[in-house]
């Protein structure tokens, strides 16, 4: 079992997300993360799906995804050289004084931004790969994390290669 990253190019139509999500739940595949948004191709969207499984399982996932009429292309980019990013917003307990100073210091080490300051808390914005976000979360836990949201991974293949509909 290891995480596989799939690029899935889909028609930008109502119901596509539920078709994809339904396929995963119905067949018992586990989605680690799924992000979707419009992309460079008109009328299409690109999903970045991280799915946990052994190679045979992921092979089935890909084949089943390919059967959906609204899916134009499925590319497994796990073994490719990619850049990956995730965005997270973290609301941390940080009373004015020593603990707030510490939190701000940690933030700067991780190149996170403080994007809101309240009476007893601050909100950090951080981008990076999943490990980095996990690490930051771990460090901040001691101060008290009030709320934490993350987008899930998006990824692109490095260089001139791509997972466009034709290539």
């Amino acid at each position: 079992m290891k995480p596989h990253t799939l690029h899935v190019l889909v028609e930008n139509r109502a119901g596509v997300l539920s078709r994809v999500a339904g396929l995963f739940s119905r067949r018992g595949f586990n989605i680690e993360s799924l992000t979707v948004g419009t992309c460079e191709e008109p009328g299409m969207s690109r999903m970045t799906i991280v799915v946990l499984g052994d190679d045979a399982e992921v092979e089935q996932v890909k084949k089943q995804l390919n059967k959906l009429i609204d899916i134009i292309k499925v590319s497994d980019i796990t073994e490719r050289s990619t850049v990956e990013r995730e965005l997270a917003l973290i609301k941390v307990t940080a009373e004015p004084g020593e603990s707030r100073a510490e939190v701000m210091q940690i933030a700067s080490i991780f190149r996170a931004h403080i994007i809101d300051v309240g009476a007893k808390s601050v909100i950090l914005q951080v981008t990076g790969d999943s490990d980095k976000i996990d690490a930051l979360e771990g460090l901040l836990r001691q101060y008290g994390i009030r709320e934490f949201v993350r987008t899930g991974k998006i990824a692109l293949i490095r260089g001139s290669k791509s997972s466009k509909s034709q290539n």
Partner: protein, 557 residues
């Protein structure tokens, strides 16, 4: 000016649709109004489930796309079992449903249901059409999707205001515009070469063919390959009729209730040529023990089926007919496989030696008599249960598309309405629904439909006053505790008569043939109520999860 409803009907005509099966309601009234004088025949069923099964039976008997129609909410929901049945058996079907007006979508309006959401897992694709302009193209795309690649059901949900919308100009219909849908038909040349080599080298090859062979019209190619290379053939339940039952290389059906010859052969073969099959658990039994010593060539149009349950050494994606043709074309022939054939035939002969030899009203006897009387002129449709397995085992299927049965979903109540559909597809053939007393009661109201249109479907009820197949499992695996599987006697002939359908009850063996003759000679629908041995079982049987060669019981005929 043209309404959406009119565009829909024109779309159906453009696809060559002649017959549809349906049931009206408020949300499809505009379509029914168009149907009033459209050159498309509409058959009014008594329950929407039957409309879906009838469209399915039509499709299986004809090879064309079947069409059913229902209203929103309860009507649409009643189609679901029929759609799921078609989905599991890859049957090309277009289901059209009415929907509440677009302005009320999502409001829990009267008779609203999210039918595209409900059917997502059991359709190949589905549509909610929000603009009348989109109707013609949607119909075109839906038929294309349903009838190509791995075939399957497609649903089109049409809100009432889309049906009544007036367009001054009919929108143009292009060829299908589906960027994400490009089925593969030609097999990969290199893989075909490899398959040819393996077939040449094999000492104990076996052809294992299923519904995909029927769907792609590859029966002739199966026969040619089998004869050229002297390869015995076994078929799945869905593949019956792909090779004539009396062909010397045919070992009969494989699987849980398959023949000894087929189940032993697959255990001992060194090459399994799997064509249009999906290694269903009712076929394979315990997966590790299925074809344990064989290399596997797997030919299927759906890449997702290859390697799903059993890894293939040579996967070939594409149309079975074209691939088999390409393979056979490259093979020079084989002198004989004496040892292998001898072994296979010995299994076949030893099974044939057990005949019922009694004078009871056994299901085997009834089916053999039927087979004898109909020769190759019948289409046998079945319900689900022992009746289905007896029909599969004892009727001699000689041609493709003469056996119609719910294999994947195993839907009781399927047979009778599917038989109605089959009749409309092939009116010249005698269509028989082989039923159990349980199953027939699941859609018995369709007696009204066959009476109204005088549809000459013959219903052969193998009446054991039990939910027989479940009772058999209770007998074998639950210590004969027949929990809620006994059914009280029913006067099926009387029920038929109430609808205006003829019938005969048969209690003795010597009355079987005359009763069948009377039914087949009648030009209308007919009910035959055979009171069979109450505790007759289907044998051989591979218990669920056991290895395929671990059969229990003895074939009864």
């Amino acid at each position: 000016m043209k309404t959406g409803a009119k565009l829909l009907i024109e779309g159906l005509q453009r696809e060559g649709v002649e017959t549809i099966f349906g049931y009206p309601g408020g949300s499809v009234l505009p379509v029914y109004d168009e149907l009033y004088d459209a050159p498309v025949r509409h058959v009014l069923v008594r329950h929407e489930q039957a409309a879906a099964h009838a469209a399915d039976g039509y499709a299986r008997a004809s090879g064309r796309v079947g069409v059913c129609l229902a209203t929103s909410g309860p009507g649409a929901c009643n189609l679901v079992t029929g759609i799921a049945t078609a989905y599991m058996d890859s049957v090309p079907l277009v289901a059209i449903t009415g929907q509440v007006p677009t302005s009320m979508l999502g409001n829990d309006a009267f008779q609203e249901s999210d039918i595209t959401g409900i059917t997502m897992p059991v359709t190949k694709h589905n549509y909610l059409v929000k603009r009348a302009e989109d109707l013609p193209q949607t119909v075109r795309d839906a038929f294309f999707i349903a009838g190509t690649g791995r075939q399957g059901p497609v649903l089109i949900d049409i809100p009432k205001d889309v049906m009544t919308a007036q367009l001054t100009e009919a929108p143009p219909v292009g060829s299908h515009r589906l960027r994400g849908y490009q089925p593969t038909y030609e097999g990969h040349a290199l893989q075909i070469e490899k398959a040819v080599a393996l077939i040449g080298e094999a000492e104990r090859p076996l052809l294992y063919v299923g519904g995909g062979v029927i769907a792609s019209g590859a029966s002739e190619e199966v026969r040619r390959l089998a004869e050229l290379m002297v390869i015995p053939v076994t078929t799945t339940l869905m593949g019956l009729g792909a090779l004539s039952c009396d062909h010397p290389l045919n070992l009969g059906m494989i699987g849980m209730h398959g023949t000894e010859a087929a189940n032993y052969a697959v255990t001992e073969c060194d090459l399994l040529i799997a064509v249009g099959v999906r290694f269903d658990d009712r076929v394979t039994g315990k997966l590790d023990a299925f074809a344990p010593n064989a290399r596997i060539i797997h030919i299927d149009i759906d890449p997702a089926e290859i390697g799903k349950n059993k890894p293939a050494d040579i996967p070939i994606v594409g149309d079975a007919r074209r691939i088999l043709e390409a393979i056979t074309h490259r093979l020079a022939g084989q002198d004989g496989r004496d040892g292998w054939l001898e072994r296979v035939h010995r299994w076949k002969a030893s099974a044939a030696a057990h005949s019922d030899g009694e004078d009871t009203l056994s299901p085997a006897y009834i089916l053999q008599e039927m087979s004898d009387l109909l020769g190759s002129s019948g289409i046998i449709v079945s319900e689900v249960g022992q009746n289905q397995m007896w029909a599969a085992q004892h009727y001699c299927f000689r041609r493709p598309r003469t056996w119609i049965s719910s294999g994947g979903l195993g839907t009781m109540g399927y047979g009778f309405p599917a038989a109605i559909g089959a009749h409309f597809a092939r009116p010249e053939e005698t269509v028989v629904d082989v039923a159990g007393d349980g199953s027939i009661q699941m859609n018995i109201q369709e007696l009204g439909t066959v009476a109204q249109y005088r549809i000459p479907v013959k219903i052969v009820i193998l009446n054991n006053m039990y939910l027989g197949m479940v009772r058999q499992w209770q007998e074998l695996f639950y210590d004969r505790r027949y929990s809620y599987t006994e059914l009280p006697p029913v006067d099926f002939v009387g029920i038929g008569r109430a609808y205006g359908v003829d019938g005969i009850r048969v209690e003795d063996r010597q009355d079987v043939r005359p009763a069948l003759q009377a039914a087949f000679e009648s030009d209308g629908p007919f009910v035959l109520d055979f009171r069979i041995d109450r505790e007759a079982n289907v044998f051989p049987m591979v218990p669920a999860g056991a290895a395929i060669n671990e059969m229990i019981g003895r074939r009864q005929a």
